[in-house]
């Protein structure tokens, strides 16, 4: 289905995750984050680009892996994206919700 975020219309699934990561723009990220109640800083964008790069490589994403990335500690990751940080950051990064293996 389609959803209009700010002035952009994008394809999303029923939980609001972009179904085509190619439709993502930094501006869109700002708008998704604002809808969740926070403003993005440069640090947020470093993490978002890291997530998008790993997703593009086909690497499964876990909180532990992000903690090992050298970008942020797990605690900083929680501070940047409160709640379920991997779910929240993936939505803002325009990539699918990470699936678990079990």
């Amino acid at each position: 289905m389609q959803q209009t975020i700010g002035i952009t219309t994008v394809d999303v699934n029923d939980e609001g995750y972009l179904t085509d990561p190619g439709q993502w723009t930094p501006e869109l990220a700002h708008q998704i984050a604002q809808a969740q109640g926070f403003e993005l800083t440069d640090k947020h964008f470093e993490v978002l680009h890291y997530l998008r790069d790993r997703y593009a490589e086909g690497t499964p994403l876990t909180i532990r892996r992000i903690g090992k990335s050298g970008l942020v500690t797990i605690k900083e990751f929680y501070d940047l994206f409160p709640g379920g940080p991997l779910k929240v950051s993936s939505k803002i990064a325009g990539i699918p919700k990470p699936a678990s293996c079990v």
Binding site: T62, R64, K68, K75, P82, K87, K97, A99, S100, C101
Partner: protein, 421 residues
Amino acid sequence: MKNLLILGAGTAGTMMANKLFKALDADAWAITVVDKDEDHYYQPGFLFVPFQIYDAERLVRPKRDFIPDGVTFVVAEVEEIEPEANTVRLTDGRALGYDLLIVATGTTPRPEETPGLDGELWYRDAFDFYTFEGACALRDRLATWEGGRLVIFLAESIFKCPIAPLEFAFLADSFFEERGMRDRVEISYVTPLSGAFTKPKATEFLSGLMAEKGITVVPDFYVERVDEERKVLVSYDEREVPFDLLVAVPVNMGADLVEASDMGDADDLNYVPTDKHTLQARDYENVFVIGDATNLPTSKAGSVAHFEAEILTENVLHYIHGEPLDAAFDGHANCFIETGHGKATLIDFNYDTEPLPGKFPLPLLGPMSLLKETRANHMGKLAFEWVYWHLLLTGKPLPVSSHMSMLGKDAGTPEPEAEPA
């Protein structure tokens, strides 16, 4: 004469030794299995030990009894693999060369990865139950425990047998009820996942069972540390769960030799990057990986190792004959879930299909039921112990396909995948 070397004589390594010993020409291939321990444990039985359903002693047998005559069994610790040199170095200084290597070195709980877990409280008020020692220590503690807050927690989303902690919660409910002290025990299930399980239909079913049994699920809780003095679990976002008795599923990691050999993946959990269909190591064509040692996106469980063993046997033969590796593992997993009071449920799924309701293994007839609590499922789980020792480990055929079947399953309306935190 060529050398086939298998590292690890757990469920996966032992099955491979048996299957390949039958399949390979003994004049052309010498098979060697290396493991650091003499004892083989029936790991599904660990769950029953804390509740005194099984005696611990019945779970242990000599590994040698399950390695075929004609296969060399070496009891030694592996220091590292040198994949460029096709050599494995042992800690005693010996080196073993190979033409084809199978890594089946499994995974183990690492309580030391969570600050405060492996300290003063360990095996006093905090336990694991995925090790023989942990299951026995917890049995002794439960025997005299007078009640309070029992907290079961998962430190990571990837761990050995994702079903067992749910079973532990159900069996604990049943155990305390039978002892007439259920009203003195609060049971909480603390998980980094968003619900009791990850796949939607199974999560819905299992969440219902949790609620019915008065077990509180605390989702999206990623434990940073255990505060030993206050006996509190603390999450990375500073939420707290107090406990009197803690049952941990610690961070699980693959063997240290994987790290020493620089063959692990970026999670730093020592799992070997493996092709999800062929089971060939991503970086080395004469290395194959099976069971809990892989980084595959399926469960770490004996059933998965069993289905992988069928596929890997075919692909090892293809590799040896210079043929394409066309046997493809589909992520098939199949788990009984003990739910207490003499009942169990059953799930069957793979990479692409979540656990669905239905009958198993025969469509309509069962006798087992998927996503339903029945006595027949419980009897199936108990009967599996015999099957494990007598058929599975020795590589005999079982009446369960290595590929998941949709026969007998009720697919219903497709739903989106659930996810970790």
